[in-house]
Amino acid sequence: MLNLILGGAGSGKSALAEALVQKFPGPRVYLATMTATDTESLERIRRHREMRKGKGFMTLERGENLAGVQVPEGANVLLEDLANLLANEMFGPNNGGPDAVWRGLEGLRSRCASLTVVSSDVFSGGRNYEEESLRYLRNLAELNRRLAGGAELVVEAVCGIPNVLKGKLP
């Protein structure tokens, strides 16, 4: 099963995704893609860890190259988040680009019971950006669309409220 949770900054998408994955039976894996580089991201990681406390998630950290991630059999994987993973692959040392992200997602999906991907809706800020940022936006949009096409459930978080775009919330 493939699920996609979208939302803007501070929209409550993580909380929605966690609540969704908690409904699935079997082991739960939180696949964190943020590589901490400064106090701001460390704080963000701390806040997310606090949120996940007691929800039964085993945490894996992987900033890039998802292809090699090992997950337990029958795991429900919550990947947070795609925007970050793509940035790491596009601008980080691995230099895998969107293709590496897609291959990683496909591989992961085939190895787990359910894959829930949190992604960012960052496409309403106009196009007044550098070409590199626009390239990033195009790649992320393409990944979002591909995921949404194959997903059973697509939910947009709006001020913490789920707005179902495809499928049905369990």
């Binding site: 803007g8 900054a9 501070g10 929209s11 960052v122 309403s124 940022s133 409220i161 707005n163």
Partner: protein, 110 residues
């Protein structure tokens, strides 16, 4: 409390004024808008509590662009989003307005 969210210039105020048939005067008395601007001015709990005393609270959705370059802008944007989540949690009714079209997210139509 009715919480209205949506992008800039989407017709949020016009929609609710019309839906509740409010005069300009009533609207000014019952509603507060552009509340995302207040996001970092005081503690999120207190601010949400104060705002929730209004009958109508209106916020612009500003979290839909690329991640801002400066930490201050990032913090402000994040706080604005969190404030909206809090207000939506407190509201009996939540409506998102896009291109003048209202979408009911919580509660009943006013």
């Amino acid at each position: 409390m009715i919480f209205i969210t949506g992008p800039l210039y989407a017709g949020k105020k016009d929609y609710i004024r019309e839906a509740l048939r409010l005069s300009e005067e009533d609207f000014h008395e019952k509603a507060v808008w552009d509340v995302e601007e207040l996001a970092l001015t005081e503690s999120p709990e207190l601010l949400a509590e104060k705002l929730a005393r209004y009958e109508i609270v209106i916020a612009n959705e500003i979290g839909g662009g690329l991640v801002p370059v400066t930490p201050e802008e990032r913090e402000k944007r994040e706080a604005a989003g969190r404030l909206s989540c809090r207000l939506a949690g407190k509201a009996e009714t939540v409506i998102r307005v896009c291109c003048g079209l209202p979408q009911l997210l919580k509660g009943d139509w006013p």
